[in-house]
């Protein structure tokens, strides 16, 4: 299946998804007015990936500020992962944050509370 590559803007994160590696990277700020428009293609891509094979999915996130519209969609993505985790697939999240801004780690921690798959939150090495 195809890889997905969406470059970032001031208000939207970069999204790089690689099917052969089973890997998804996202980073930057996310405060689009319409988060479905931005994340819709990613959700479709993930659903196709999960449907077509049994490979693992590792997320590496360097997301910083998320507006509530983006928070809602990111929660949907983690719910998809949770479902796959219960179905026996290897899924994991690594969220890297800048130690100068405690809000980012707090945000990641709140997502982690609702997930039972491996979810690491680590300071980003400059």
């Amino acid at each position: 299946m195809n890889n997905l590559r969406i470059e970032g803007t001031v208000s939207s994160p970069f999204i790089h998804a690689d099917a052969s590696l089973g890997r998804l990277e996202m980073g930057g700020d996310s405060y689009p007015e319409n988060s479905f428009e931005l994340f819709g293609p990613l959700i479709d891509w993930l659903e196709t990936y999960f449907r077509e094979g049994g490979g693992p999915m590792h997320l590496e996130l360097k997301l910083r500020y998320l507006n509530t519209s983006s928070v809602k969609v990111v929660m949907d993505i983690f719910d998809l992962l949770e479902e796959q985790h219960h179905g026996g697939r290897a899924v994991s999240v690594l969220w890297l944050y800048d130690t100068r801004n405690e809000r980012v780690a707090e945000l990641a921690e709140e997502f982690k509370e609702d997930c039972s798959f491996p979810f690491d939150i680590k300071p980003q090495q400059e």
């Binding site: 001031v10 319409n34 988060s35 479905f36 500020y65 928070v71 801004n101």
Partner: protein
């Protein structure tokens, strides 16, 4: 017509410690542009990156709420206009205020909702936030589905304040004020 007194406007801004204000129709790109100016200002001030993110986040949620409402109501550009101010209070804390025209019955319901949130402590606000996050979306709603107000309340260091001024045409000017940290 009354002459525009810029000197008076300036004096008012200085007296009320307004560092950024805007009144007029807002677009998606204008929210970004003003947001960019706000970020730059916050970077240059002594506020921490986390504190700056709170101020910025409150600005984004308030202005996007105004845009969503105006779109949902099919308001004209002029009716969907926003009045936004970022200022500091006597203690040097950042204050983000935003107002717009709202149908009076919606404005009253909104004020009740804000007053209810203002009575909650941080733990209760977190519970309300998580509950709202788990609530199914109504249709193809693209917004944060009611999370915005709770997010604003969680980032604020004082209870949120909502005021409304009723106009003769069945609408009200609804204004929301959030006080953020100064550190």
């Amino acid at each position: 017509m009354e002459a525009l007194d810029l000197f008076d406007m300036r004096a008012n801004c200085l007296r009320q410690r307004i560092m950024l204000c805007f009144n007029g129709p807002i677009s998606r790109s204008l929210i970004e542009e003003i947001g960019h100016a706000l970020r730059k200002y916050l970077e240059d001030s002594r506020i921490s990156p986390g504190g700056a993110m709170d101020v910025f986040a409150v600005y984004v949620e308030m202005t996007q709420n105004i845009r969503h409402y105006a779109n949902q109501m099919n308001y004209s550009e002029a009716d969907g206009a926003a009045t936004i101010a970022v200022s500091r209070d006597d203690a040097g804390r950042h204050v983000v205020s935003a107002g717009n025209l709202v149908q009076t019955e919606h404005a009253q319901a909104l004020k009740q909702r804000v007053d209810a949130l203002a009575a909650l402590d941080k733990t209760q606000l977190k519970a309300a936030y998580k509950e709202q996050l788990r609530r199914p979306r109504e249709g193809e709603q693209a917004s944060g589905a009611g999370l915005g107000l709770i997010d604003i309340a969680r980032r604020s260091v004082e209870p949120l304040q909502a005021t409304l001024q009723t106009l003769p045409d069945g609408r009200s000017f609804f204004a929301l004020r959030a006080v953020l940290t100064n550190s």
